[in-house]
C-alpha cells in the first residue's frame, strides 16, 4: 500500500481521472434545544443564601476543600451572605433530586462543582 507511486483502484469514480469518491465515516449530530438561564433577580449576594455543592469528584479533599476556601472568601467579602456547603449524594455523576429541592426551598443561588 505504501510503495511509491501506488494508486488504489478507483472503485467508485466521478469520471475525473485519478479521483475517487468515498463515504464519510462521520455521523450527523442532533443539536440540543437552546434553553434560557433563569433570570437574575438580584444584583448582589448580600443577605442571600448560597449553596455550595461538592459533586464529589476527586474525593472528600478536592472540590469540598475548594468550597471551604470559598466560604472564607464570602465571610470576608460578603459577610451577610449565608453559605451552606453540602456534598451531593452518590457518585459524582449521580442525580440528587432531594438536594435540588432543598436548594430551591432554602436557597437563592448555587455554586456547583468541580467537574474534571
Amino acid at each position: 500500500m505504501s510503495s511509491p507511486g501506488y494508486r488504489p483502484k478507483a472503485t467508485s469514480t466521478t469520471g475525473i481521472a485519478g479521483k475517487i469518491t468515498v463515504l464519510s465515516p462521520a455521523c450527523s449530530s442532533t443539536m440540543a434545544e437552546r434553553m434560557p438561564l433563569t433570570p437574575r433577580n438580584f444584583t448582589s449576594l448580600a443577605g442571600k443564601t448560597v449553596f455550595l455543592v461538592d459533586i464529589g469528584w476527586g474525593g472528600p479533599k478536592a472540590g469540598y476543600d475548594v468550597f471551604e476556601v470559598m466560604q472564607g472568601w464570602f465571610a470576608r467579602n460578603i459577610p451577610s451572605a449565608k453559605t451552606i456547603l453540602v456534598p451531593k449524594k452518590g457518585g459524582f455523576g449521580d442525580d440528587d433530586p432531594e438536594l435540588w429541592k432543598r436548594i430551591q426551598s432554602e436557597g437563592d443561588a448555587c455554586i456547583l462543582g468541580i467537574s474534571c
Binding site: I20, M31, M35, K61, M70, P87, F92, W100, C110
Partner: protein
C-alpha cells in the same frame, strides 16, 4: 455536571457551575451545543484539584480563571447576579448542516490527508471507503445498510450509528467482510472508553466465529500477528473517533491516553486449550458453547508477569501479589492466562475459573489506606461510604494500616485463556467485562 446546573436553573436557582481546565472547552462548547443547550456560566479552575494542599486551593480561589483571566470569585458572583444577555435568554432549536454521505471526489493522497485533518483515523494509513468497498463489506451481514446499530449518546448529539457507518470504519481498518458480524456486535458497545484517567478497552471473542474468520487465540494472539484480531480491534477505535466524534482535548480527555486504543487488545479465547472443567468466558456469561459472542471490557491496568513460573512459588501466589497493584475498583480483575498457566492452576486444585476467582477474592489483601489512596476509589466510593453503604462505610473508618480484601466480589474476577503455550506467562488486568454481545444476530 451540566445537567445538575441545568436542573437548578430550570428550578429558578441561579447557578454558577465550576469546572477544571481539562474539560472547560468541552462544557462551554460541545456540551452546550449537543447536550445541555443552556449557556451555563462556567468558571474554570486550574489543575490539579485533587491531591494538592489547602494553600494551593487558596491560590485558585483568590486567583484568576485561566480561561477568561478574570478573578474567580468576582466572576462567580457575576454569574449569579449579572442580568442575562439576549443570547442567554434564547430558546429555540439550533440547526446544523448534516454530514454528507459522500465526500467530494478527490485523489487518494488528498483524501488520506483529509481524513487525518478530520481526526477520523489513528494516523496510520486507512483503506479508502469507496462505495464498492463498503458495499462489499455490507455483504458480510443480512442487515440493511440503513439500520441503526446504536445511537451514540456520549458525548452528546444523539448520532445514529448505522450498519453502513460501521461498514465504512471496517473498510478503513482493513477488515474483511466475513469479520463484519463480529464488528457489528462490537459496535453496539461503542464508543471506546473515555476518561481523563486514560482508560481503554479489551475485546474478547468466543465461540465458533473465532475459527470461521481465522482469529488468533494462540501464539501472539494479543500482539500484531493476525489480520482479524488487528482490524476488528482497530475498527472499534476508528468508528469511535469518526462516527463517535471523539477527539483528544475536545471530547476525549485521557491525560496520557492509552496505547491499547490502537486496536483495543482484540483477541479470541483459546477455548480448545482450556483445562477440563474450565468454561469459555461467554459460557460463564450464560451463552452456549456454540454461540459466537464478543465481549468488550473496559479498564486501565495491564500488567505482565514478565517471566515463567517457578516451582517454588505456585502461580496463584504471584497472581495474588500482582493483583495488589490494581485499584480494586468494582472488585474487578481480568486474568489473561496462557493455557500452560491454566493447566498449572488446574493442577493446584482450581478446577474451574470460578474457583480461581474465589481464592483470589479471599487472598488479595491490601492496607485500607492504599485502597483509599487511589482517586478512582475516593471519587467513586467516598459518597457511598458517607451514605452508610457497605463495605465502603466500614472501610472508610478503619485505621490506615488495616488490611482489607478489595476484590470482595468473585464474580467480577474473570479469567480468559489465551496464548500459544510457548511459556507460562500471564497478564493481570483490571478490565471489567460486560455480559457479551451475541454475534449470530448480526450475521
Amino acid at each position: 455536571m451540566s445537567r445538575f446546573a441545568k436542573t437548578l436553573e430550570q428550578m429558578g436557582i441561579p447557578t454558577a457551575p465550576c469546572t477544571a481546565l481539562n474539560v472547560s472547552e468541552y462544557v462551554r462548547g460541545w456540551n452546550m451545543l449537543y447536550n445541555s443547550g443552556m449557556p451555563l456560566r462556567y468558571t474554570t479552575f486550574p489543575l490539579p484539584i485533587a491531591g494538592v494542599s489547602r494553600e494551593v486551593h487558596e491560590t485558585y480561589v483568590n486567583g484568576n480563571d485561566p480561561v477568561t483571566g478574570k478573578p474567580v470569585m468576582l466572576q462567580i458572583v457575576d454569574a449569579l447576579t449579572k442580568p442575562l444577555t439576549n443570547e442567554e435568554q434564547a430558546q429555540d432549536t439550533m440547526e446544523k448542516a448534516q454530514e454528507p454521505r459522500l465526500l467530494p471526489p478527490d485523489t487518494e493522497e488528498n483524501l488520506q490527508e483529509f481524513f487525518k485533518e478530520k481526526d477520523w483515523t489513528d494516523y496510520l494509513p486507512v483503506v479508502m471507503p469507496t462505495e464498492d468497498r463498503v458495499n462489499a463489506m455490507l455483504k458480510g451481514t443480512s442487515h440493511k445498510a440503513y439500520e441503526v446499530v446504536k445511537t451514540l449518546a456520549w458525548p452528546g448529539g444523539g448520532r445514529r450509528l448505522t450498519v453502513e457507518k460501521v461498514a465504512v470504519s471496517a473498510v478503513m481498518a482493513g477488515a474483511k467482510a466475513e469479520y463484519f458480524p463480529v464488528i457489528l456486535a462490537m459496535a453496539t458497545m461503542a464508543p471506546f472508553g473515555n476518561s481523563t484517567t486514560s482508560m481503554a478497552n479489551m475485546i474478547i471473542v468466543n465461540g465458533p466465529v473465532r475459527k470461521e474468520i481465522g482469529m488468533n487465540s494462540g501464539t501472539g494472539a494479543m500482539g500484531p500477528h493476525n489480520r482479524a484480531n488487528a482490524t476488528i480491534g482497530r475498527t472499534f477505535t476508528l468508528l469511535s473517533k469518526s462516527a463517535g466524534n471523539l477527539h483528544a482535548g475536545k471530547t476525549t480527555f485521557g491525560s496520557l491516553g492509552s496505547n491499547l486504543q490502537y486496536n483495543n487488545c482484540c483477541f479470541a479465547e483459546n477455548e480448545e486449550a482450556m483445562p477440563e472443567g474450565w468454561e469459555p468466558l461467554s459460557v460463564q456469561f450464560g451463552y452456549k458453547r456454540d454461540d459466537s459472542v464478543v465481549t468488550v471490557a473496559t479498564g486501565w491496568t495491564y500488567v505482565s508477569c514478565a517471566g515463567e513460573l517457578v516451582t517454588t512459588y505456585p502461580p496463584q501466589l504471584l497472581i495474588r501479589d500482582y493483583m495488589k497493584s490494581l485499584s480494586g475498583m468494582g472488585s474487578t480483575a481480568l486474568l489473561c492466562a496462557d493455557p500452560l498457566v491454566a493447566g498449572l492452576l488446574h493442577k493446584q486444585g482450581f478446577t474451574t475459573k470460578e474457583s480461581v476467582a474465589e481464592w483470589l477474592a479471599k487472598n488479595v489483601k491490601i492496607p485500607v489506606q492504599q485502597f483509599w489512596g487511589n482517586g478512582i476509589i475516593t471519587t467513586g466510593y467516598t459518597s457511598l461510604a458517607r451514605q452508610g453503604i457497605e463495605p465502603f462505610a466500614t472501610w472508610h473508618n478503619l485505621p490506615p494500616d488495616t488490611f482489607i480484601e478489595p476484590f470482595n466480589e468473585p464474580k467480577n474476577i474473570n479469567t480468559v485463556v489465551v496464548g500459544g503455550q510457548t511459556n507460562t506467562i500471564w497478564f493481570i488486568t483490571d478490565f471489567r467485562a460486560g455480559k457479551g454481545v451475541p454475534v449470530d444476530y448480526w450475521r
